[in-house]
Subunit: 209 residues, 2 copies
């Protein structure tokens, strides 16, 4: 297998943490988004959609998209389960993963990509250019504030995002929350349940790769 | 189990098709988005995020989000498989499902919700109001054009979206393509592979509920 990673971007980090939590060592190639390597001809021969992460499976299948990589690895290497054991748990993990993608990952990405000069004309990842929409950056910041509130409510009632055990949903949430530093937003200091959860996840070896 | 549906909206339709393809009959309650019933106190007691679809499982768990409902049903009622049999297939189904959500579902939704008067201040589903951003509607239409191109390329090389068999990815794609009529966009008439695929899916009983 080959894993195409990028050490500075949140989506590859989610896959990197998932691989580490599975205890797997996979041959890894770094694609520098800062240098625009994801748009190079050689990388687009691997993934025409010009995004990282990518996992080439042992069957030679090219998987882009975090959820695809997670679903493959969960089926291929079931232990430890990171996407739920029972049907209810499997549903809850993907539910919370979708919620934090929509309410956290998306607005953080929108706030960054529609305001920072480094993303001029790169408001959406992938091969096509899109101009920045400043209103979308503003809306993004407002939604991230709501995301932190939602997270505090959830973590006051549940030890982990999707329930009683660590899962893919914690990986996604942790990576988004940590990445929000790029738009200078952090868990508010009174959100004690969120801060405790964040520290616990941060202390896992998979969070420090 | 109880399924909260809305006959006019694309996301509940995806869950409705998935349930039908599994051959299941689940007690269904209609939530009219036109009447704003998703924002009612009684529905928000079920789903505080005020979105449909929702599935209350036989274990009493409340699942919102299409992918959560699909993952639960796939684990609980494995036959016929709609999310892949092998690890590679499972990865490919979720990969294509994510691609068509991002490149089709999202821009169609953005084009509609940021332009149509019925969605004034309702640019994002859920309990919070968000003003429309006209530039996002324009960008959405442009991206839907690219989505139809991408789809034609894919369906020229593969009989179904995620490979050789019908899957969740076909359900999502079919519902998005059909829903694009609300922004007056359709598969271009020269895209013969896409049109053939669309007709094949449309002839399934699950597409006519």
């Amino acid at each position: 297998m080959i894993f195409y990673d990028c050490s500075t971007a949140p989506n590859p980090r989610r896959a990197r943490m998932f691989i580490a939590e599975k205890g797997l060592g996979i041959e890894t190639r770094e694609i520098s988004i800062a240098k625009g390597e994801q748009l190079s001809e050689s990388f687009r021969a691997v993934n025409p959609r010009a995004t990282v992460p990518v996992l080439v499976t042992d069957g030679g299948i090219v998987l882009t998209e975090n959820l695809a990589i997670a679903a493959f690895l969960e089926a291929r290497f079931p232990e430890p389960p990171l996407m739920g054991r029972t049907p209810d748990e499997k549903g809850l993990v993907l539910m919370w993963n979708a919620i934090v993608e929509q309410q956290g990952g998306a607005p953080i990405g929108e706030a960054l990509r529609n305001s920072h000069p480094a993303f001029k004309d790169r408001a959406i990842p992938g091969p096509s250019n899109h101009t920045q929409i400043p209103e979308l950056a503003q809306r993004g910041r407002k939604r991230v504030t709501s995301f932190f509130e939602m997270l505090e409510t959830r973590l006051t009632e549940s030890p982990f995002i999707a329930g009683d055990v660590f899962s893919l949903a914690d990986i996604s949430t942790f990576v988004f929350v940590d990445f929000a530093r790029v738009i200078k937003m952090r868990i508010p200091e009174n959100n004690t349940a969120s801060l405790e959860w964040f520290q616990a996840i941060q202390s896992r070896p998979s969070a420090n790769l």
